[in-house]
Subunit: 275 residues, 2 copies
């Protein structure tokens, strides 16, 4: 059995406490004993990323990653070019912020076959990777749950993400494992081991799958609110060599509508009990 996680590796994504501006999130996370922060680009709007990074570090928070780049797949070529422009901007933002990693949600376009989206994703990553390397930044491919294959990502299993990272073949390119997207996979344990052997386990996101799930996007649960064996999967990650942060990333209309200080305390409790 994997022992409970202590708070030393607890990271929270700013989107989890979406109602809070970045400054308040930083203050509250630090107060609650959170050690890492993953910044969503939306939280940087109207802010200088370099100063934002200084602010976060002044609260003692480690900046774990910037979320998110990607969305490389489009029917329209101009949209694909625009995605590269936007990803380069995200890379500059991450570097200025002092985030060591940019997480990629790869994209999909319902008007074209999945394999075409997959080719465009590969081409997109290859196009931005040198720019990321120049900025000392790592890129993490996040496989998304198959219920997002239509319009969010054509990369839907850990095996696919690992294969893609290996095919492109840069030390700066790896994989972000989010329990919400991969928990159902009968190959999960062995694929985590394979990804770890290849030194491609770059990030680990936690939350839970609720029964029933009332919305495909915005009804995630706190660890313990659902059926995902989060601690067990964390054990697989650690046995595969992962020693990074356990990042709480929850999109939930329900939790966003609740009092956020209380919610953050719930996050810490749920983390102690279930991660």
């Amino acid at each position: 059995m994997t022992p409970p996680a202590d708070l030393s590796r607890l990271c929270v994504h700013t989107i989890t406490t979406k109602p809070w501006p970045l400054e308040q999130a930083a203050r509250e996370y630090a107060r609650a004993g959170v050690r890492g922060i993953t910044v969503w680009r939306e939280a940087l709007e109207g802010r200088d990323p370099e100063r934002a990074g200084e602010l976060l570090r002044s609260h003692g928070l480690s900046i774990v990653s910037l979320c998110r780049g990607g969305f490389f797949a489009h029917v329209d070529e101009a949209a694909r070019r625009q995605a590269l422009v936007d990803n380069r901007a995200a890379i500059e933002q991450a570097a200025a912020l002092g985030a060591p990693m940019l997480v990629l949600v790869c994209g999909a376009a319902p008007g074209q076959p999945l394999e075409r989206s997959r080719e465009q994703i590969r081409a997109g990553i290859e196009a931005i990777l040198p720019y990321a390397e120049e900025h000392g930044l790592r890129l993490a491919i996040e496989p998304l749950h198959p219920m997002y294959s239509d319009s969010r990502s054509a990369i839907n299993t850990l095996a696919q993400a690992t294969d893609l990272a290996l095919a492109i073949g840069s030390e700066a390119l790896g994989v972000a494992v989010d329990v919400y997207h991969v928990w159902w996979d009968p190959m999960l344990e062995s694929e985590i081991a394979r990804c770890g052997s290849a030194a491609k386990l770059f990030a680990f996101h936690v939350c839970d799958w609720k029964t029933p799930t009332n919305d495909l996007l915005l009804d995630r649960g706190l660890p313990g609110e659902g059926c995902i064996e989060v601690r067990r999967i964390r054990g697989w990650m650690e046995r595969a060599g992962f020693s990074g942060y356990n990042e709480v990333e929850i999109f939930s209309e329900t939790h966003w509508a609740s009092e956020q200080e209380h919610f953050l305390n719930q996050i810490v409790q749920s983390y102690r009990a279930h991660v």
Copy 2:
């Protein structure tokens, strides 16, 4: 390119036109040129299955299968035993109806690990299989989309379903492929070929995945309303040796709320254009 399907292999599931009682569905399907019918157990309520079968055949309809048995996975042992009782009743119903096949939605229980549900599914199928064989009935394991892993099925990929059918090893046990559940799978084409080589392709269900999908259960689309390459997947099925019916199975609050005669005409048109 796979040519359009003619109507000779068009089957409709009674759940697709849920507002119609079985008798009306049979009459309307026959009028519209539908050749096959898959009967949902709910449609048999209060009816003698033998007489229902005679009625359907009197309209010239082939009975393709009975939907659905399964739901073998439960935390509680009494519930698992009850599932076997219910599956034996479904087998008797299918035999009386004159359906050659029972489709299995295998089940999952959010309170236990997926692999325990998978063991229970295997045990459940092994328990009912001899009874199905005695009744001259085939059983089809339907892998369900990973968004149903929590409470509907712990069998979520075609590879898993094929492996399970092969592991149990009876000619009466095979697989039902529903495009809605498997379209996203990067291994789909090769897994259809493998399943076909093993003579395990027992059924083929069609519908479409809409963008956005507003409900996890009841927002399926007509072929052509979404992003699934239905005709291409049908081509893979046929190249793998499948020569059975193409079964239109659509759960949709939207379509159920519409005028069902018009909807049935849309089904036929959508079938000609997209299947």
